[in-house]
């Protein structure tokens, strides 16, 4: 068993913590033990080799492998028999916050993050709970310090149902589960016992910092990207690398060019404190051969150029960064939308695929442009505009973006833009299938009349900036809010589209069985034929499908797991309410649902 000594083995963290945070941490520690239920004996330590090329039945990284395909090489469940899928087990997840879970599978155990730091280990065959890590609620003192509120910690009285505290993914390495928290710390939890081994405060939550993306492991370094960088402060957004044994910070790379740095002039003459945004709120990918991690950054804040006070490119916002995981040095960057100006994020997943021997990286942001970059050099190879946006033109040769006439917002002037700030694509990761050489992309269809407004340019001010908005149906949508789009790679040609009234609300999962799985806001989980988009199987679950479906096998049997839950993105409540008002869903019911063929 883990002793209390082992629990204290971690470094206390590099920075001085506000007293209130220390208090809440020590309370956390003291409350853990009673919740840990069992010691897992059958767990083997996870090595770099296992992470980089996992056994076919395992799911060791949030998108399956460090290349983030979202693809399972299992084919027991296939286009012929998928119609026979049946529920094997379901397990209720924490309903006190938002769920966008990406479960992991190792040695027949499912490790699943749910709201507000809760992590559970389940028997992946039976759904039995093996252990549970549940941090203590924040103390009254912590809340009154102001830390929790900007960091989205909830006052004790408001626990039930409030949609915050997302932790999308966790990482598995050695004998540890790694998580990043809504209070800007990272945690190592013993994978066998569920006990906290160390917790390191990475940033000060009173400044607004928090995490929604979990860490990844790259060449023995634990890497995480922070978010909550929208308010003006004397600091900028960053990605950090840590020693997995202790949590000690090895490096910190700013995702914003500081005034004195190369590229510093791309923010005009704005001082550091007015360079906000570039949040790194989606976990990156890793190429072990190149020893580079690929991490996306979000737009600059405030969203509109006119509000943030510079027409400059604002490096390194809305970029893909290639970093050396050993020291955080930037090998290259590619800025997808220089000087982005209406909340069109490019922060999302990086899918690493080799095309005709060319090591490539594929990515799609809110505008619905599929980017192909050379992942060794960062060079632009190809861009495919899927045709749902009316904001920019893309030069197909250089990859340069230019704004269409009148599409750069001015304060107080209404703009008619597609997509809305929900984006054509968001965190709902696309999946790649090597069998069909295609990307399967969860799409949200809608447009918006948007009027951008000013913010206070002072410390603590800033933020995204106010927007008056009226959402409306996309003219090409036939009233549908959701689509799975299959794009051939690298041609970018449309293979098929599958539409639904409700927006798709999960990542896509592809399998060697020729299937694509995804779920929608209206509780429906679907299996489509990857070749032609034919609907092969559907089931309705407790509430909105939300998160990252996975596939795994134990003892030769293949399973498909779908997380459902609510909370998180702002529009996931308002868009369906405004544009598909006949749909409704329960506000609770967060769960993980596991399917397989009959025994």
């Amino acid at each position: 068993m883990i002793t209390s000594n082992a629990m204290c083995r971690g470094e206390p963290g590099k920075r001085e913590l506000p007293r209130s945070i220390l208090l809440s941490l020590s309370l956390t520690l003291s409350l853990i033990a009673p919740f840990a239920s069992a010691q897992i004996e059958s767990f083997s330590a996870v090595s770099d080799e296992m992470l980089n090329s996992p056994a076919s039945g395992e799911w060791l990284s949030w998108r399956g492998t460090p290349a983030a395909w979202g693809y399972s090489p299992l084919d027991q469940i296939n286009t012929e028999n998928v119609g026979q899928l049946q529920l094997k087990w379901s397990f209720a997840l924490d309903d006190t916050g938002a769920i966008q879970a990406a479960p992991l599978i190792h040695d027949g155990i499912m490790f699943i993050p749910s709201a507000r730091g809760v992590i559970q280990a389940l028997d992946a065959v039976t759904g039995d709970l093996l252990w549970e890590y549940r941090p203590a609620p924040p103390t009254e003192e912590f809340i009154n310090s102001g830390a929790g509120t900007r960091a989205a910690v909830l006052p004790a009285g408001a626990f039930a149902g409030v949609g915050r505290g997302v932790q999308k993914n966790i990482a598995l390495y050695g004998e540890m589960i790694y998580a990043s928290t809504e209070t800007a710390s990272i945690r190592a939890i013993d994978a066998r016992s569920g006990l906290l081994v160390w917790e390191t405060q990475v940033a000060d939550p009173t400044l607004g910092y928090f995490y929604t993306a979990g860490p990844i492991i790259a060449n023995g370094t634990l890497v995480t990207g922070i978010t909550g960088c929208d308010r003006y402060k004397d600091d900028v957004c960053f990605i950090t690398g840590h020693d997995p044994a202790t949590g000690e910070e090895k490096w910190r790379t700013s995702t914003v060019a500081r005034p004195e740095d190369p590229g510093g002039d791309t923010w005009g003459d704005l001082p550091l404190r007015f360079r906000a945004g570039s949040d790194a709120w989606v976990a990156g990918s890793y190429d072990p051969q190149a020893n580079l991690i690929y991490w996306g950054t979000a737009q600059a804040k405030p969203w509109a150029r006119a509000v943030r006070g510079t027409d400059g490119d604002a490096l390194y916002t809305n970029s893909t960064l290639a970093l050396n995981p050993d020291n955080g040095e930037m090998a290259w960057y590619f800025q997808h939308i220089p000087g982005e100006t209406q909340d069109m994020d490019e922060v999302f997943e990086n899918i690493l695929v080799d095309i005709d021997g060319r090591k490539s990286l594929f990515k799609m942001g809110k505008l619905g442009i599929l980017w192909q970059l050379d992942r060794e050099t960062g060079q632009f190879i190809k861009g495919t505009d899927i045709g749902y946006q009316n904001i920019v033109n893309l030069d197909p040769i250089t990859g340069q973006i230019t704004y269409r006439d009148g599409m750069i917002p001015r304060i107080g002037e209404e703009l008619n833009m597609c997509p809305s700030t929900s984006g054509v694509k968001s965190w709902r990761a696309m999946a790649y299938s090597p069998d069909t050489s295609a990307m399967y992309i969860p799409i949200t269809l809608n447009c918006e009349l948007a009027t951008f407004g000013p913010t206070e340019r002072q410390l603590g001010g800033g933020g995204a900036g106010p927007v008056r908005r009226v959402n409306y149906h996309h003219p090409q949508s036939d009233g549908n809010l959701g689509e799975i789009l299959a794009l051939d790679i690298p041609s970018g040609e449309v293979k098929w589209r599958y539409r639904s009234r409700a927006p798709f609300n999960t990542a896509a999962l592809t399998t060697a069985g020729g299937l694509v799985f995804a779920g929608d806001w209206n509780r429906t989980m679907s299996a489509l034929d990857a070749n032609n988009g034919e609907l092969l199987w559907q089931v309705r679950l407790a509430t909105s499908n939300q998160g990252f479906p996975i596939s795994y096998s134990v003892n030769g049997k293949q399973y498909i797991a779908m997380p459902v839950g609510t909370g998180g993105a702002s529009w996931s409540g308002s868009l369906p309410r405004e544009l598909a008002p006949e749909l409704s869903r329960p506000r609770n019911g967060s769960s993980i649902n596991v399917f397989a063929l009959p025994d």
Binding site: G463, S570, S574, R587
Partner: protein, 143 residues
Amino acid sequence: MGNCMARLKLVAALSAAVCALGVSYAQGGTVWDGVYSSEQAERGEAVYKGACIACHGQDLGGNSNSPGLVGMGFMFLWEGRTLGAFFEKIREEMPTDRPGQLPAQDYVDVVAYIMQANSFPVGDNELPYDAEILDGIAIAPKS
């Protein structure tokens, strides 16, 4: 126009009739006339801490998902509309995870707290739970 359309979507409590007549109820009052009391704002602060703070923040400044409820952002979004429209937005849609489900009085109290946070002057009377009166109070810059 936007106000009226938004309101037409609403059900029951604040009925379409009020909307149609809204203009004629307007009494020329504004948020600068001392329209809430400090006790009410205090009650509203407790409501805010329990039901709103997690998304809109301790300083009411909001974040990338939830709009700020104070300062330039508030005036940009609400100037030229009425306290009635503001109240209805909150009563109908907030908190987003369980809209409309606080006691009616809590909703007016939290509006009072937001008024105070925006430095609109305090007065002797409470903001009432009364659509006609709320509709008669304009959100306007200081004249």
